[in-house]
Symmetry: D2
Subunit: 259 residues, 4 copies
């Protein structure tokens, strides 16, 4: 044991045994879903089955949003010069920050701060939401989690909130965000709760630290970036000029799940 | 439509509708597992339920392997200087290459090439395995997918092959790799099939291109890297000297699943 | 001209002519030093010959600091897994942040803020330095640019300040930092101005924005990282465990310049 | 000394003394140019004054080529999402590969291989050049270092070759590339030697390994990427759609050096 000896609480490796947060990896394989084990890795304990189902949905929700987001464009740009798959995806990951994917963390901070202040003053949800909108509007700040460039009614939000309800998750994060959205509607501005907002509210109610908020986004988006890079590598010529918006879709036609 | 117009076959975005390979994202949320949708993103179609369960296990298998792998060390090193979460994980991702995580792609190439040659000559599995070992030994090349630094019997391999069997997946990739392992045993060298080899053989039998092999590793490892970076951020002081091997585990004690 | 048309003020490319900030690149080649053209790229105008010489020295000052800094370790770690040269250097670059290389920006902010406050109150340098140390000590904050882990008298600082004097650069940034150092000495704590502090003070007096401070560090360090990665690639075996401090030097023996 | 003890031949750090390849860093500061010390770091010895001047020109040559190269676009894309300066530049660096910046390494390999074969057969430069073009044409391969998208006569090439001559550098690398260019001209295809080719030929004649070829490009381009990212941060709004070609220049007007 050298003077640089240090400790980790994540994984213990011994010959023929790998334990994550105390559980054997091979025992979890086949018994637990990948998102459940992600939850275990990040939070230290296993989720209930309802929350596990919700986590699968959170991961599916952000897996891809087409070729226009900067993370897809940066990954394709790197790939187009001949970068290997992992380096291209890394370039994409470096393009997930405050203004793209980062709304989850910002929204979590906003909700947690507002709830804490409200708690101290024993205020109602209505009062908090009203105050929060007034404060942000006065400061010229946007409200993260509300509104979307393209979707007037983000189809992923309703699904996430419904699964959260199924899982018995019913917390102040979701309540406050819904209140904010209603307050906007009352003011004549019908803006949707976007997927980042929905995930943020759920993560607040699951007691995750805001600092991990964006990780849910980029863990989910990594396979999407792989798909973009692989398509770029196999379909396009190197060093093409990649237009950020002028692209069409020619994949499989609309189809319905047969589940 | 400009002269830079291009096409993508992955995702189609329209107001209030996101379709991945033709399926509505919100319809898949709550109905399909995250790994099923990863499979859809990368392969273009949905897996059977048995394969979906196998994919969950593949993803769980590689989620973390402690603090010693270079990807964890590089991510912690970046984090220790004050890098944000995504940049730290990117540094980890850049450390996943031929010699760490890359055995999947190499093993897939090896299996596919050998099976193709065998097919042309109508050779038996035994003959292929024998020839392959002889050729590689003569050339001084290692055989990817066989052997492990720490595990003499990789606990993840048996689980993956058993789930593959449950899913009715029974292909030449797994058969050839098993044959190679038996050939080694016959030669008095009892080496395990490691987790990279098991995943490689399964991906060959699922007809994935080798170029996507490592993606399964790094998609799986991304949450593990997040856990390491978050631990580094919250537990260690900045700019510490990070010893690559001299660390102990002080997380939760051994516990069994209650499923 | 599309609706995405945008403007840049850096470089104009036309057939057989490349102009950076208005000057022909081929005209500058052979006439101007690389650091002069870096200055032009970042600041928009050319430096005087004295400042050009100072910039060369600033760049030489930070080119390498051995194998222990996290940027060298992260670059070597990535390289050790088989990463290409540029991806390895990128991993190093991602490890240059607030706690490594970042002192330049922090020190610039500190000096600029203090000088601005002093200006408003027409205070003497002595008073500002005293106040600054008192405030930071009370807040438990370190003073960036002062002190070094290894060097009690950073040999690079004296050289930079002497070259700055030769160039006729004599500004409040350098004066204030020197005053802070003297104040510490008066207090019985003889701490050196480190190279980051010296560069920060000079950049303040050259009127660079603090946001560009760290760029001087990482532009300078990039070739050093290349040297480390190339040494790793050509001298070490893949996937070795890289000890962060236990390494010796076996390069060329001490030698003196013959200039 | 642990069992992980290792050696490096680049830099020796002791209290108040930093030696790169045996020379004191503070002694070199003010006496040697930055590119001379880059050469020292990468090659182990100092260049002659003529070569030092040539190296400055090589570094100036590639410092920037406008906003269209993928490295600039990837860096701006990352920056546009809120990435810090170093992470944005890292995304740019990850976009410098075989098809962008990578021609230096490819051209060096081509020249070295051809010269070696020629040496073995004692062939003339004319014969080598002719054979090389014939072989590559037959194989459908491009010839790296020859031709340019925009420049019919790359203004940087003549300058580099003239400075090489001034430095007394007169090697087979430059001779062979010139011969290839003349052979093309004789065939009725007047293609220029581009800047990558000129640098490659010079590096071959300076006896650099091809594996370091691209490093000269990306060391030089790093400050250019910083300029693009800083312009993006200070001039553009976040998350804009970045058109890869539809941009104009509005920087300083054409001006001549006054040297």
């Amino acid at each position: 044991m050298s003077d640089l000896h240090w400790k980790t609480g994540i994984t213990r490796i011994s010959p023929n045994e790998i334990r994550l947060r105390g559980y054997r990896l091979d025992e979890m394989m086949g018994s637990l879903s990948f998102p459940s084990v992600i939850y275990l890795a990040l939070k230290g304990d296993l989720p209930s089955p309802g929350i596990a189902a919700l986590l699968d949905a959170i991961m599916v929700a952000s897996i891809d949003h087409g070729a226009s987001p900067p993370s897809a464009l940066a990954a394709r740009t790197a790939s187009s010069t001949g970068a290997p798959l992992n380096a291209s995806v890394a370039a994409g990951l470096l393009s997930i920050n405050r203004f793209h994917g980062g709304a989850i963390e910002d929204c979590m901070h906003m909700l947690i701060d507002a709830l804490q202040r409200a708690n101290e003053k024993s205020e109602s949800m209505e009062a908090i939401a009203e105050q929060l909108i007034a404060d942000r509007t006065a400061a010229g700040q946007r409200i993260p989690g509300i509104g979307h460039r393209i979707h007037t009614n983000d189809p992923r939000t309703a699904k996430l909130f419904s699964l959260a309800q199924d899982a018995g998750l019913d917390g102040d994060g979701m309540r406050l965000l819904a209140q904010i959205q209603q307050e906007f509607e009352r003011m004549g501005k019908p803006l949707p709760i976007n997927v980042d907002g929905a995930i943020a509210a759920i993560l607040v109610d699951l007691d995750f630290p805001p600092e991990l908020g964006n990780a849910f986004f980029f863990i989910s988006r990594t396979p999407g970036l792989v798909a973009h890079v692989y398509e770029e590598q196999t379909r396009e010529r190197p060093m093409r000029r990649i237009h950020p918006t002028d692209h069409g879709y020619d994949g499989p036609e609309d189809r319905a799940l047969e589940v």
